[in-house]
Amino acid sequence: MFDSRELSHKVAIVGAAETDTVGVLPNHSVLQLHAESAFNALRDAGLTLDDVDGLATAGVSPAALTEYLGIMPRWLDGTAVGGGSFLMHVGHAVAAIAAGYADVVLVTHGESGRSRVGAAGPGRTDSTPGGQFDAPFGTFGPPTMFSVPIAAHMARYGTTEEHLAAVSVATRQWATMNPRAMMRDPITIDDVLASRLIAWPLRLLNCCLVTDGGGALVLVSEARARDFPKPPVWVLGRGEAVQHTNISQMWDFTEWTAASRITGPEAFRMADLDHSAIDHLMLYDAFSHTPIYAMEALGFVKEGDGGPWFAEMRSAPGGVLPVNTNGGGLSYTHTGMYGMFAIQEAVRQLRGEAAAQVDGVQTSLVHAPGGMFSATATLILGNQ
């Protein structure tokens, strides 16, 4: 049996960049968002498209992107399970590079979530499990589905609407320091609670933005990782799992089971670190409750303590454990598959080049769902 610990600190992110701007980009197609991200990340690493021999992406097929970019990679990954797919790609790239399947892996994201330029439409779904057993009752996008478990968490643990609001408030505090963030005006708990109901218990300010943008990463092996313009950001640990696709089939509405059982423990084990060694967190915030579930599932707090932890502003600027320092999906940007932006901010923090830089970040844990609590992916990154 191979041991994943042997792959810790063996592959590094040496290029990382987003599209020139994020937000509202009606002059970019989906594929061009991927391409702009790729050019920017490769430039960041001092490389060109001709250096790329491995490609991973989600949202578009690797084949479509290969054609658009004019490259012929010898390793592909099209794992597409939602917003956390890019975290999985990074984990897969570590193994691929270690195996010699590729030397320079490019991971890209691009999504015209707001402007819908060059995006494929939905296909027929009425005979799928979701089409038969969930859609007829009026599921209508993530706000009506990702939200379904919250009432059970509230009933079991006493999580409140104020706790949910606190996540939005703390995250906005970080966004006020990020000039690229779409929403930068400070908000209060009362502002969140006064915003209009979307799907109780979620209100408008508990919901992520809907934007256009992209990002890309370049990964290489340890042997070359120090030969690039920017200091390497090491992949120390990774974990991935999927437990369902339709929210009605989530194993336990009060716990992110696949994250607590699999992706958190695997990432920590591979990195050979414990929670106290993590300086910074990126917890994909599609909605206010997602980071609460992630904090609990990953073991940073015990079950049910996630809401009060955020309500004490422990994640905010000056708090004990900075979370979502770019302003998150709630206030920075959210194209639809936000996971790439969570990785980008972790890389910026580890390089010391973030807009709201936290002092002394040596390790960052990135966690993202895919779909509605369906997938879970964890990365532990470090700069030492």
Binding site: D126, F133, F137, G138, T139, V148, A152, I198, P201, F253
Partner: protein, 139 residues
């Protein structure tokens, strides 16, 4: 612009018995003969970890269950009047299904405690289709 219609299900061979049962106002579920647990949605094997037996059978379920969780949708599908409740019911014999609630005109969190006892209702959508809905059991 026309309002998008309510999405309606297209049964597959594996789920046909369930949909045919609803037309007769029966809740037809499957249970595993190996581990005795019922599950939802229909498929010809037991989906529970640790079992996965292919020895399963159809039966007519009690139509009782408990409210597992829900949202009160204020901005939702245009074919639905708001607010409406998207609820998940944990059925007594096993398995969870998404549904709407009947018998509730003005849904509030106070009126909908998680864990509440529920019973099935049948909503005849057209000649070919009946959907399940569930209502609170009056105490």
């Amino acid at each position: 612009m026309t309002t998008p219609a309510r999405p309606l299900p297209a049964p597959t061979p594996e789920t046909r018995e369930y949909w045919d049962g609803l037309k007769r106002h029966e809740l037809r579920l499957q249970r595993c003969r190996a581990c005795s647990r019922a599950y939802f949605y229909p498929r010809p094997f037991c989906p529970y970890p640790g079992c996965h037996s292919q020895d399963v059978e159809w039966f007519t379920a009690s139509g009782r269950g408990n409210l597992a969780s829900y949202v009160i949708v204020h901005r939702g599908h245009p074919a639905f009047g708001t607010p409406y409740v998207l609820a998940v019911v944990e059925m007594t014999e096993g398995g969870r299904m998404m549904t709407n609630l009947s018998g509730i005109d003005d849904p509030t969190p106070e009126a909908l405690p998680v864990g509440a006892e529920m019973e099935i209702d049948f909503e005849d959508v057209n000649d070919a289709l009946t959907l399940p809905s569930w209502r609170l059991v009056k105490g």
